[in-house]
Point group: C2
Chain length 171, copies 2
DNA sequence: TCCGTTATGTCAGTTATATTGACACATTAA
DNA sequence: TTAATGTGTCAATATAACTGACATAACGGA
């Protein structure tokens, strides 16, 4: 009953333990979400850094190095190591920009596309199963909570799309 | 309208793009979620490894070193560096086990508890804001999707609790 | 055309977090 | 007594990130 009165005091249901549970939900879900791709990456001697580069180049074909840097929020020296490997091993292509010839526009090669599909497929399958199990309404709730957690700027990447809507812009 | 007809074709709403969006929601939300604690950790010259140790010791007072290792899934040499720092700087206490005197039971000191609260508070605040914005129904949807993504074993940590229910067991 | 800025890349050194392997010590249990 | 267990430590290595400094080519405005 102490519990009930506490709830009355806090009608926003933001009790300590519920929030803690939220932390742990995120922790475990994210851990398992990344794990499925990690196993595959290890086979190529790649890490998560490589995956992120492949993923965002896939989402934004022709992206410049500096735009990629601002998405990943790492230094160019860090990106250089990873990107260099991916280019050398034929997963990513660099083309000189047409308007601005200083730019190196990045795209996946066929080999890169194949790896990207392979990697993301694991994660898509995991999310698909979770979505299916939870139902459409829950998915909408999930979307709302996730958007509320990310910073204003990144939120805009999703807000343009209506509920369940498709992306129209680069990632 | 092309959009609407597409939906009819796939009543399970598991379209490629929706799943991809799920991947990105997770990526951005988790990135910002960890960022808030990272900033505070940096002030103590600690990293995420320290945070994890503090967190799990907090959730499992009196845990043994080997049990902690099996939660964290790292080697004892790795743990040693981090744990040693935390003990030396007075955030964690080691007590010799009573039944088995080989064991070193780990608990947070008051100083450790204070840091734990401080760290978690940032993350709780972020989740609280997201929950508040999204509403109670969305939170329930979020819970369902997250649980669907984690492996069977970890899911049980949460399933015991009813909708919006409180935790009854250690994390 | 000259010059400052931008986009990219690279060299060198450092830090944080993890690894494997080997070994030591105290305690427990067979 | 001896083997196994729980813990700790030394040493070498890997990785993914960092800062700082500098180089090159191309752009753009005065």
């Amino acid at each position: 009953m102490a519990d009930i009165s506490t709830r009355k005091v806090n009608p926003l249901f933001l009790r300590e333990e519920e929030l803690r549970q939220g932390i742990e939900l995120l922790f475990y879900a994210y851990r398992d979400f990344t794990e499925v791709a990690d196993q595959m990456l290890a086979q190529y001697n790649f890490g998560r850094a490589h995956h992120r580069v492949i993923y965002f180049v896939s989402r934004n074909p022709g992206i410049t190095v500096s735009d990629l840097l601002s998405i990943l929020k790492i230094t160019k020296q860090s990106l250089s190591r990873v990107l260099g490997q991916l280019v050398r091993e034929g997963f990513i292509e660099q083309k000189t920009g047409v308007q601005d010839r200083r730019q190196r526009l990045l795209t996946l090669t066929e080999k890169g596309e194949a790896l990207e599909r392979e990697l993301t497929e694991q994660q898509r399958a995991l999310i698909a199963a979770a979505y299916r199990e939870a139902g459409a309404e829950s998915v909408e709730g999930f979307r709302k909570v996730m958007m509320g957690m990310m910073d204003e700027k990144d939120r805009k990447r999703f807000e343009d799309d209506g509920p369940g809507g498709l992306r129209r812009r680069a990632g």
